[in-house]
Each structure stands twice: as structure tokens, then as C-alpha cells.
């Protein structure tokens, strides 16, 4: 298997609405910036894998309109109907196989063009969930309640995640929400769907991310610090909410275990320098601490309150501010990879964790973290 590294990346400035800009213009500028970041041109790219949503784009097979904007004309291209981090995993496998020397991964979503809640509602099972009015937020709220109740966790713990991540987001030039919030403000914000409060939910975002992968020889020839991919993992939990242990992020745990095994990591808390997770709602970050093995099950809030996941903690989580500061749907997990690559190659700018050498990027998908993907990067 060939060595594979993340060598270049770019993300848009994430915004509530990129009014007046087509998706194609957004992608063309983005891909050029990503290529420039690693001194490559589109002719150096062997294959393109993209992640988009037909629902978000309002078209079937919606990648087709964006192919030339992404530089995929005449190239080997395929689309992933999931988060861009899953596209990156496919791209890794394509390059690791030796069939391709380089790959461009692009993920994008313009949520402003339609209604996210209608779309996630349509994702619900038609005979067994839709009649009850369950959408993504309601599924998350059911999970949060199950989690808090199972471990006897104080309902203000998720609010403290929001305070941490919103403070971190102020340093991230790409974040959509770049203002701090106080604990009182989070606790005082209205409950969208109990117990999820408005400031504990990710915003609706327009944005995109592109990442360039290359094999060992090409990675070493570019004059950049490669972020080597040392582990990958993916897992799908049951679709039916009733069939799951809702108080656990089982898919994230399995995805992380696979990635850790591949990267020979046995103690993630001490061996990982930084983690970026896709926490669509604040409680999910606490559950992910546990699933990623940073602490015992049920101890996520203790880890948070000890400051272990703060910017200056032992294992900072979401120094970018995470999904609570910008959630460009379908690209959110790929943004985690770009942020992680920036960290381990010391290109993190304002959000850089000093001396970060090894990072984990996580993506989630489906209702209540049904699916998860993890990628481990190393300088």
C-alpha cells in the first residue's frame, strides 16, 4: 500500500448565505486556492471525488453541473452521498492502491437555497418516524435526553461545550459565528426541541472545502509539510433510532477503533495532540469524547470541565470552533480534515496548537450520529 498524505486544502469563508454567488463560482475559486496551497495545477490531479447533496442542490445527480467547476472535466470522477470526509477516505484508498498518484476531494453545501428542516424530515423513515414529526433536530434531542438521563449528567454540560467552541471560533477566520457567548446566554436561549437550546445547535451555513491528497513521492516533491494519513475508519449504526443504544455514539467508537488500530494508537488521550469533531449539537461533543476513547463512558462532561479539551488542554478538541461555529452541510467533516492537516503541518494560523504532530478528524452523518468516519493525520 502506498503512503498517502494531505498536501493541500482550502475552505470558504463560511456564511449564512452566499447570496449572489453560484455554487460553481464558489467551487472554482475554492479548488484553485487548494491547488495553489500545494503548488499544484489541475493537470497534476489524477482523480476527483466530491461530496454533495441532491436535496441541497435541488437536482438529481447534482455533481454533474459542478464537474467542470471542480476541474473534473475528462478525469476519473465519482460522488459520495455523504460527508466529504468519507470522500477523502475513498480518495485515500484510490491513492493507496497505487492506481492514482493524486486526488482532489471537494465537498460543498449551500443550505441557504432551500429548507434544511424539510430535507432532514424527508430523510425520516416513512411509516415509522415521519408520522411522529421526527427530523434531525428531534432525533438529536431524543439522543441528548437519553444520554443525559443514562449517566445523570447536568443539562448545563452541553451549554459549556457551546461556550468553549464559540470562544474558539472567534480566532478562526473561516468561521461563520465569530462571537463569544456566555453560559447564561446559552442557557437562556430558547429550546428549539427540548433539551436542545438554540445556541447549542449548529448554524445553517453556506460553504465548501477542498483537500488534495498525494502519494509519497509526489507529497515529498511539493515543498510542503505533508500531513500523512495514518489511519482511517468508518462505521454505520442502525438506521432505525429504536434499534440503537442512543446514549452511545457507537458508530464513532467503531470508526475510531479502526483508525486507531491502523495507526497503532492505544492511548488516544496522550497520543493525539488535537481533535476536530463534527458536533451538530453541543451534547454530541461530550458523547464523542467518550466514543473516541478520551475518557470513560459517561465522563465526557468531567473531561470538559477539567479543561482537557480546551485550546490549552491535553487534547484540544475543536480549536477551530467546530460545527457549532459553521456547519456547511456535507463539507463539515472535510473541514475537520483540513483543520487537522493545518494543525499537524504547523499551518494553523490563529488556531494553531503548538507542536501538534498527530490529529484526528471526525465526521458524522444521519440522525443522531448514525454514521461516523475518522481519519488520523501525522506530521
Amino acid at each position: 500500500m502506498e503512503e498517502v498524505a494531505v498536501v493541500g486544502w482550502a475552505q470558504t469563508r463560511h456564511e449564512r448565505s452566499k447570496t449572489g454567488q453560484t455554487c460553481q463560482k464558489m467551487l472554482y475559486d475554492l479548488v484553485n486556492t487548494a491547488l495553489q496551497s500545494c503548488s499544484m495545477t489541475i493537470r497534476d490531479i489524477d482523480t476527483v471525488i466530491d461530496a454533495g447533496s441532491d436535496f441541497l442542490d435541488g437536482r438529481g445527480l447534482s455533481n454533474a453541473l459542478n464537474l467542470d467547476a471542480m476541474g473534473a472535466h475528462s478525469k476519473v470522477e465519482s460522488k459520495v452521498a455523504g460527508d466529504g470526509l468519507e470522500a477523502a477516505i475513498y480518495a485515500f484508498m484510490k491513492v493507496a492502491s497505487g492506481m492514482f498518484s493524486s486526488a482532489l476531494v471537494v465537498a460543498y453545501g449551500k443550505s441557504s437555497e432551500s429548507s434544511i428542516r424539510r430535507q432532514t424530515r424527508a430523510g425520516a423513515e416513512p411509516f415509522y418516524a415521519r408520522p411522529l414529526g421526527i427530523d434531525a433536530v428531534a432525533a438529536g434531542a431524543l439522543q441528548e435526553n437519553a444520554y443525559l438521563h443514562h449517566y445523570g449528567i447536568d443539562t448545563s454540560a452541553p451549554a459549556r461545550v457551546a461556550v468553549k467552541n464559540r470562544a474558539a471560533g472567534t480566532a478562526n477566520p473561516y468561521a461563520q459565528l465569530r462571537s463569544e457567548v456566555t453560559l447564561a446566554e446559552v442557557l437562556g436561549s430558547p429550546e428549539l426541541v427540548s433539551p436542545i437550546r438554540r445556541l447549542e445547535a449548529c448554524p445553517v451555513t453556506d460553504g465548501a472545502c477542498a483537500v488534495v491528497l498525494a502519494d509519497g513521492p509526489m507529497s515529498r516533491s511539493l515543498g510542503v509539510h505533508p500531513a500523512w494519513i495514518r489511519g482511517i475508519g468508518h462505521s454505520q449504526d442502525a438506521y432505525s433510532l429504536g434499534s440503537r443504544e442512543l446514549h452511545k455514539a457507537v458508530s464513532a467508537k467503531l470508526a475510531a477503533r479502526r483508525a486507531y488500530d491502523m495507526a497503532s494508537i492505544t492511548d488516544p488521550h496522550s497520543e493525539l495532540d488535537v481533535i476536530e469533531v463534527s458536533e451538530f449539537y453541543a451534547y454530541q461533543e461530550l458523547m464523542l469524547y467518550e466514543a473516541l476513547g478520551l475518557c470513560a463512558e459517561g465522563d465526557g462532561a468531567l473531561l470538559l470541565d477539567a479543561g482537557a479539551t480546551a485550546h490549552d488542554g491535553q487534547t484540544p478538541v475543536n480549536p477551530s470552533g467546530g460545527a457549532l461555529c459553521a456547519n456547511p452541510l456535507v463539507a463539515t467533516g472535510l473541514v475537520r480534515l483540513a483543520e487537522s492537516a493545518a494543525q499537524v503541518s504547523n499551518r494553523g494560523g490563529n488556531v494553531q496548537i503548538d507542536g501538534a504532530r498527530r490529529a484526528l478528524a471526525h465526521s458524522g452523518g444521519g440522525f443522531a450520529m448514525q454514521s461516523a468516519a475518522c481519519v488520523i493525520l501525522e506530521r
Binding site: 463560482k25 472554482y28 467542470d68 437555497e113 429548507s115 424530515r121 425520516a124
Partner: protein, 156 residues
């Protein structure tokens, strides 16, 4: 998402559910479609963009050439007439398409363009249409900045 339980024909218990999915979209023209349609609306001009590398004049206008992946940043006015490259007569229209049926969809190579322009043919019997014939745009009086600012192309 709207579901309605559908009773079985005999009036027994439900065994199917009818569903409808309505999602509204608002998608921006952006800079390039914006200028393209404004020129059609205000000046009855069809504008393309020229690739800085291969020189092809592209429609619809876009910031890049998909063939070369280089900027296409020079705006070029095209003729409102050209040569018919292919066509079809539509007898079974799709939803929301022109009221007058049958209608003729056509790909036209406008003089000066590097790619085909899609539109309709009018003032011609479907049996008389031939690939290679010269056609010219007939502009609408009431223009709003859409593709229908041209009513159709007719043979010259």
C-alpha cells in the same frame, strides 16, 4: 413532507401511504448569469466569455473554461443568428414547458461561439426543419432577464 394514509380499495386497513415532497429553492444567478441575462433584457445582446487559454467563446458565461480550467474573463458579444446543429420536435411535453405544442428544441451554433446555444424554433413547420439551416433570434417585447427574452429562433 406530507403523508396521507391511503385506505385499501375495499375499505379495509391501510396498506399504502401517499407522500408528497415539497421543497422550495431560491438559487442566485450570480455575476455571470446576471450579466448574461441583463444584456439580453436591456440590450438584446447575447454575451459569451472567452477562455484565456484555448480562446473558445463559452455559453452560458462562467468564470472559467471547463476544458482548460483556466479563467474565462473576457466578455464577447455574439451574433443573434447562427447555424442549426440539431433539433427535436417535442410531442409529449414535460411539466411547465411551452404552451404551444408541439414545440421544437434546437441547438444553435451562434456565429462566433465555441459551444452550442439551446433554444426553441418558431415560425416553421417541423417537417421543414433541417440541420445546417440558418436561424435568427426573435426577441420578446416584454423582457425580464430570462432565457425566454428570446421567443425563439426562426429560419432566415
Amino acid at each position: 413532507m406530507i403523508e396521507k394514509a391511503k385506505e385499501s380499495p375495499g375499505g379495509g386497513p391501510v396498506d399504502e401511504v401517499d407522500g408528497e415532497l415539497h421543497i422550495s429553492y431560491r438559487q442566485p444567478y450570480g455575476e455571470h448569469y446576471g450579466r448574461f441575462y441583463r444584456e439580453m433584457c436591456d440590450n438584446k445582446r447575447i454575451m459569451g466569455v472567452k477562455c484565456s487559454k484555448c480562446g473558445a467563446v463559452l455559453l452560458p458565461p462562467r468564470p472559467y473554461c471547463g476544458f482548460c480550467y483556466e479563467p474565462a474573463d473576457q466578455w464577447v458579444e455574439l451574433a443573434d443568428e447562427g447555424t442549426l446543429k440539431t433539433f427535436t420536435t417535442v410531442y409529449e411535453p414535460c411539466v411547465g414547458e411551452p404552451a404551444v405544442q408541439p414545440y421544437i428544441c434546437a441547438f444553435i451554433m451562434l456565429d462566433g461561439a465555441g459551444v452550442h446555444f439551446p433554444h426553441l424554433l418558431g415560425e416553421v413547420d417541423p417537417d421543414d426543419v433541417e440541420v445546417g439551416m440558418r436561424v435568427k433570434a426573435i426577441w420578446a417585447e416584454d423582457r425580464k432577464g430570462t432565457l425566454r427574452d428570446i421567443k425563439y429562433f426562426r429560419p432566415i
